[in-house]
């Protein structure tokens, strides 16, 4: 059962990744693209964890955690740049 569940989830997140890419390629302006990138980060985390589940390994957990933490920071940096121009003031 879990195998099919992971396959289904892989398919969903893979499709989500392609949709994010579509937004990045076709949107106007930077703001939407930053949002798309941020969503892409989240989908990537999901894919990593799913991959870990499918091969029964914990080794990707920390990598996923760091991507989660740092993805947030880079989104904040992009956002601050757009809002204030200066990211550290």
């Amino acid at each position: 059962m879990i195998t099919y569940a992971t396959y289904f989830a892989f398919a969903c997140f893979g499709a989500a990744l392609m949709m994010n890419l579509w937004r990045i390629l076709t949107s106007d302006g930077v703001g939407v693209r930053v949002l798309a990138l941020d969503t892409m980060v989240i989908n990537t985390i999901a894919l990593l964890i799913l991959y870990g589940i499918s091969i029964s390994s914990e080794i990707f957990f920390e990598a996923a955690m760091i991507i989660a933490m740092l993805g947030f920071v880079s989104t904040v940096a992009y956002a601050r740049f757009m809002l204030r121009g200066n990211i550290i003031e």
């Binding site: 890419l21 390629l25 904040v76 550290i88």
Partner: protein, 959 residues
Amino acid sequence: MSLFLIVALPFLGAVFPALLIRAGRNACAWSAGVTSALAFVGLMINLPAVLRGEAVTARLDWLPWLGLNANFFLDGLGFLFAALILGIGLLIILYARFYLSREDPMGQFYTYLLLFQGAMVGIVLSDNILLLLVFWELTSLSSFLLIGYWKHLPEGRQGARMALAVTGSGGLAMIAGMLILGHIVGSYDLSVILQNKELIQASPLYLPALILILLGCFTKSAQFPFHFWLPHAMAAPTPVSAYLHSATMVKAGLFLLARMWPVLAGTPEWFYIVATTGLITMLLGAVIALFKDDLKALLAFSTVSHLGLITMLLGFGTEIAAIAAIFHIINHATFKAALFMSAGIIDHETGTRDIKRLGGLRHLMPVTFTIALIASLSMAGLPPLNGFLSKEMMLEETVHTVWGHSHLLVPGLALLAALFSAAYSFRYIAHVFLGPKRSDYPSPPHDPPVGLWLAPAFLVVLVVTIGLNAQAMVGPLVKVAASAVTGGELPYFKLKLWHGFNTALLMSTVATIGGLILLIMHGGLERVWNAMPRPEAKTIFDTVIGTLTQVSRVITDTLHNGAISRYAMIFVVFTLAIASYAYFTGTMELPTRDVQDAPLLPIVAWFCLISATAMLTFLHRNRQLALVLIGVVGLIVSLSFNFLSAPDLAMTQISVEVVSIILLLLCLNFLPKTTPVDSSLTIRLRDAVIAGVAGVGSAALIYAVMIRDFSFPTISEFHLANSYKGGGGTNVVNVILVDFRGFDTFGEIIVLGIAALVIFALTEAVLASNVRAYLLNRKPEWPQSGDAHPLMMVVVTRVMMPIALMVAAYIFFRGHNLPGGGFIAGLVAAIAFVMQYMASGFTWAAERQRIFYHGVIGSGVLIAAATGMGAWFNGLPFLTSAFGYVHLTPLKEFELATAALFDLGVFLAVLGAVMLALESLSRFAWQPGMVTEHAMDINPKRDDPPDPNTDQPASEGEA
């Protein structure tokens, strides 16, 4: 005294004059003199051994695998030259003390002089040709400093440059020649090379080696056609001319000819190249010298002529000629140094060196006159002075020399040169000292103080005594030196004044009388000479150098025009060319691996990567968008690393990615937001083609590598096998970083620290300059949102701070055995701090930051170094790691490894470097009024009355 000490003394002593000049000019001169005297005494202690025919040696293996050994040996030849260098050096130090004026920096002068002296002594005592080359180049450099000593004179600077260019390029040729010689023999030790005459002369490389070494010798000894630098080097102060350009440096080339004589001489090539060059130089120098009006130029060309004479004698290749050459080296050094010093005295006391403005000085300067008279007559070759003896020997040798099929060519030309030599020597006396007294000297001439004439006087005493009693004075020394040159037994000889009526005496008489006749006819001859067109060496040299500079500038400007696209193109095209060459000439084995199936999801990721990259190529001029796209690329790359089982790399990749994006965004604040179009469409299309070909080529290469097994066993097996056994960790990546390649890592954290400090220093410099005014008054380029520090963000980042630090600690501690480690942990911790700067503001964060980042970097490097050095106490090499297991009661048993301590150093250095760099860059944006009392301000104007004590800026408001 050990030979090492004799060579080292001048170098060690060179420090003292520069320091002691503060104690006065006498102390300065004394320190130089005592150094030289000590070395001279040390040399003299070895005299008895040398006269017995023993070679004194001192050996020290320096870099034996390169064949470079610090070996010295002292035989007759080396002793003779070392004695000349140190002995005349002492006299020059005395002379220079009184010659240099108060305006001249005397400490510098003596320091340069001692450096030069040490280098010269090093040349003549070296028993290793590579060591000899090192000293050879040192003489070129130190003589450059000495010739250009009067930096304010353009002639001095130009003469120094010319001397360096000529002798330096000759030195380069000689390096090649020496390497060939060492290659033929299989050893770079002179004593070995000198035993292998047959081997060297039978080698097909003999001629190239000979020519290259001779180029070095001829440029150094100012032989035709490289003689032109010597007269221009006369712009140096007279002590330098007397020392370098008569007694020592120009004789270095002769020394080497003599040193290599046993193995290089005796062949027709040697005879025709060396003897002919010497003969031409001798004649040419003598002729030009007669028509020079500048005293020092006259002496310079006369030196060129006499060097040619000695070169010719060495070129003859016979034992007696070698004896004559050695003898003339001594004689020339004595009379020519004395003459240079007397020319210096005349210049010093009358204010001019122009012969046309002198004359009648014999009554005004009787002491100088006596010195110059004896030295000139010796130079002219008149009995009973020492110049006569060696000139007789030279003429006698020429009579026995056959050039081509002619018996008369060499003696005839030698006679002509001797005739001109006599003429210019007489002119030096007649036109400067004889004749009527004049009333228009630039300053009233009188004899100098005793300090100035003592040194030349001592030399002319030698001139006379050697002339009268040659055998007793220098006979044994000439004998050991000449036998060192020939490398064997010498025929019987006796240095004496009277040889009976023979051809040489007849030639001498003709030369002397002819010289007098030439002197009488000088006025008429000079008009003819001046009317003749002559090539001017300096113009030719300047043209050549100018052309070379022009050519190299064109090449440099073509390759380095400042556009990175140009550099990238050159690099890529070159790589492509080499790769195509390898592909078309090499062979490729058949694939040994199967191509694996690609699942759908990796293809999706690959598609994301390619699309983002392609889009970046087209939209990169929008810099902010480019950064977002780079973010996509970084994310997918990190994902791929995970998928390909490299979680360490994945974590490193993503953390470096985020730090770089923050850094670039900080910079982008001050940069144009779009990249301008610099190059034309054609060029961009060309670059696109090149880049496309290179990209496809790289992909094909990678594919070709991946479907084959490695030809050689890889190093990874070793790492996997030894990671736990040797480094105490199961995470091989981390063990490589902190143990196998720990030394690299140690270097890298130092470099990282330096880079961060440089960024800090540059920031300080920019903020201290007038750019600061611009920065302080900068207006934002687009309307800003009102919240500088939004409440949500501040809260979230503060909550996240301990979590992030905990993650960093967790990553750090597990690093040795599982993915993680100090580098990643350092980056994560840095990002945890940067979040606070971003959310709560620079001022807020800086106030709470109590440890300087410089200190964090420093402590990191120190901890890593101390950990590495800890291994020394166990008698192990730097950075050998140790590990053990510790059991503390409430905890489970855990491992302690020194590598973890080293990793702590890495962690601190990375943390400090990243923070220092980011903090420095963010200081550019600081403006007055950014100080906020409210770190979590929701635009304080909205609900808080403005605090009168703080300046609330206008920009904080309506947006």
